[in-house]
């Protein structure tokens, strides 16, 4: 059963253009010029109950705009949205009882209060009786491991602890769908990992449908079974994580700095991208060779520094476009 249905959704923004200097200011005051930015262009998709789905794409691709339209924050220019049987533009408040939202860059908690007081406040916003809130807080406290800082004012918490509290605050009213907009932005890798585990556990426990956005591929790799890649307001790819991994995330980049110059030739599965002075850059195709194979090629004694990373998202997108042309 589909909990979210989006059909032919579009949204434009009108942005005032100003020329430089005093003359420009005057001109734009008398006769303003506008640029139309097409943030979302005619997208359609469905999300099933209990699914964890990710929107990824570079900054400004239209992920946040899409989420904001699904939650009723922004009014679409055209197209249809149905979330849990509600139209967000008409039944925003009814829908609000059924969904939870976390915006990584915006705080909704009162910073001078403890997480506990905050959760009570959110209970009141969603009209939940006192006892029921207590029970729910207790439950979520265990699930998200909040014991240590339950009574510390939010302003004294670390960013990672805060995000955990933000997520809990948005779960107090047992939403059927949870929207997470860049939940791991600005966090260090260890904390990111922690948040991911907790989200996964929550999804398992409550069968909550989760829609999340990120511009970090590794976020999604570990969390979601399905991925929608967005670029320039359009859906570039809507596929399972497995397929995406098989086709596009099967490559790793190795950057190495050596003591001496090594002469390497490209072999099957290992591609030499750059070989300049003491710096090497290799692309490893994991279908054919493993990372350890690649490292064996290099002499570990000769190595000063090494860095292994995923293929950048921009490159994946451009590869998808190339495939589309074929």
């Amino acid at each position: 059963m589909a909990v979210i249905t989006v059909e032919n959704l579009s949204k434009n923004f009108k942005v005032k253009v100003k020329e430089k200097g005093l003359k420009g200011s005057f001109k734009s005051f008398v006769k303003p010029k506008y640029n139309i930015i097409k943030a979302v262009k005619n997208i359609s998709f469905e999300v099933e109950k209990g699914e964890m789905i990710a929107f990824i794409g570079p900054n400004g691709a239209g992920k946040s705009t899409s989420i904001k339209m699904m939650t009723g924050i922004l009014f679409p220019d055209s197209g249809k949205i149905d979330v849990l049987g509600y139209d967000p533009t008409k039944n925003r408040r009814k829908l609000a009882y059924e969904i939870g939202c976390v915006f990584g860059q915006k705080e909704q908690l009162w910073t001078h209060l403890t997480p506990y007081d905050n959760f009570k406040f959110f209970g009141a916003i969603y009209d939940i009786p006192g006892k029921q809130v207590e029970k729910k807080i207790e439950e979520l406290r265990e699930l998200f491991e909040l014991e240590e800082f339950m009574n510390t004012p939010v302003r004294n918490l670390s960013l990672g602890q805060r995000i955990r509290c933000e997520i809990v605050a948005s779960l107090i009213h047992e939403p059927k769908v949870l929207f997470l907009d860049e939940p791991t932005i600005g966090l260090d890798p260890v904390v990111k990992e922690k948040i991911r585990t907790l989200i996964k556990r929550m999804n398992k426990e409550y069968k909550t449908t989760v829609v999340l956005t990120s511009h970090d591929v590794s976020d999604i790799e570990k969390l979601c079974k399905r991925v929608i890649i967005v670029n320039k307001g359009q859906i570039v790819l809507d596929d399972t994580m497995e397929n995406l991994k098989y086709h596009y995330l099967n490559k790793k980049i190795i950057d190495a700095k050596m003591k001496e110059k090594v002469n390497l030739d490209s072999v099957e599965g290992i591609n030499i991208l750059k070989d300049k002075d003491y710096n090497l850059k290799l692309e490893v195709d994991l279908k054919k060779k493993s990372i350890s194979d690649a490292i064996k090629l290099l002499n570990p004694d000769n190595m000063i520094d090494i860095n292994i990373s995923n293929v950048p998202l921009e490159q994946i997108i451009s590869e998808i476009y190339k495939d589309g042309d074929k």
Partner: protein
């Protein structure tokens, strides 16, 4: 001197971009003048009446000039900026520059004020002529005299507010002091000339900042008199020198305190 002129010029240029905000500020000015026009028309039962030596038209011109001086000043912004400079430690950054903070603040704020004062003056004069159909008897020479006095008034005002801002070296928030200062100027110095106050406190007011930053130039405008002109200018110059000295003193004391604490 050249570097201060440059500071002045660059602030003036940036401010040209805020023309729109200034235009909206015009509305506030018009409304203040409109209120006082109505108020004094009510108080003076007929226009030929003279109260405490002022005709109705003179009273309204007086308010037009004092309001120009006060509204163009943007004192709250200046005080806030200096307080922030002190608190954020930006002020120590300025120590390493080859200019003095007091003069820097003075000239950069003069740049902000000049354009505003120019535009509001045009507006104020227009309002006066339209509503009163009369202009005070001034010769070209006395107009120059009034302008000189106005320039000195604005300069003194900025230095005094700089002093208030610099107090934040010693207490946490100096803004309430600015509040009191602005109430003093607004309620006591802008609406009524000194002659309207009880005889007993008039001599005290002659030595207060009100005399040099609002009463002096406005009085010269509505009733120019060479003898009075010389007296006002002399007092203004003395005030300016003393204010600058105090500003420098507070600045150096403050910086030293900061260095001791910061080291």
């Amino acid at each position: 001197m050249k570097k201060y002129l440059y500071i002045f010029q660059s602030e003036l240029m940036t401010n040209l971009q805020y023309t729109f905000d200034i235009l909206v500020g015009f509305v506030s000015y018009c409304i203040m003048i409109f209120i006082f026009l109505n108020l004094w028309q009510y108080i003076y039962s007929d226009p030929s009446e003279v109260i405490k030596g002022y005709t109705m038209n003179q009273m309204i011109w007086y308010v037009i000039v004092t309001e120009i001086l006060w509204m163009s000043l943007g004192g709250r912004k200046l005080c806030k900026k200096i307080c922030n400079d002190v608190r954020s430690g930006n002020i120590t950054y300025n120590i390493t520059k080859p200019y003095n903070y007091v003069e820097y603040s003075l000239f950069s704020h003069l740049g902000i004020t000049t354009l505003k004062i120019f535009l509001i003056t045009i507006l104020g004069m227009l309002l006066g002529i339209v509503f009163l159909k009369e202009f005070p008897k001034l010769t070209i020479l006395s107009v120059l005299g009034v302008l000189l006095s106005c320039a000195l008034a604005t300069t003194i005002n900025i230095v005094l507010i700089t002093i208030i801002g610099l107090i934040s070296f010693f207490i946490e928030d100096a803004n309430p002091f600015f509040w009191l200062y602005s109430k003093l100027i607004l309620v006591v110095g802008t609406i009524f000339p000194i002659e309207f106050f009880p005889k007993a406190i008039q001599p005290i007011m002659k030595y207060s900042p009100i005399y040099v930053v609002s009463y002096g130039p406005a009085k010269l405008f509505v009733d120019f008199d060479t003898h009075r002109f010389i007296e006002i200018i002399i007092i203004q110059v003395i005030y300016l020198i003393i204010a600058l000295l105090i500003a420098h003193l507070i600045y150096w004391k403050g910086v030293r305190k900061l260095n001791v604490n910061g080291g």
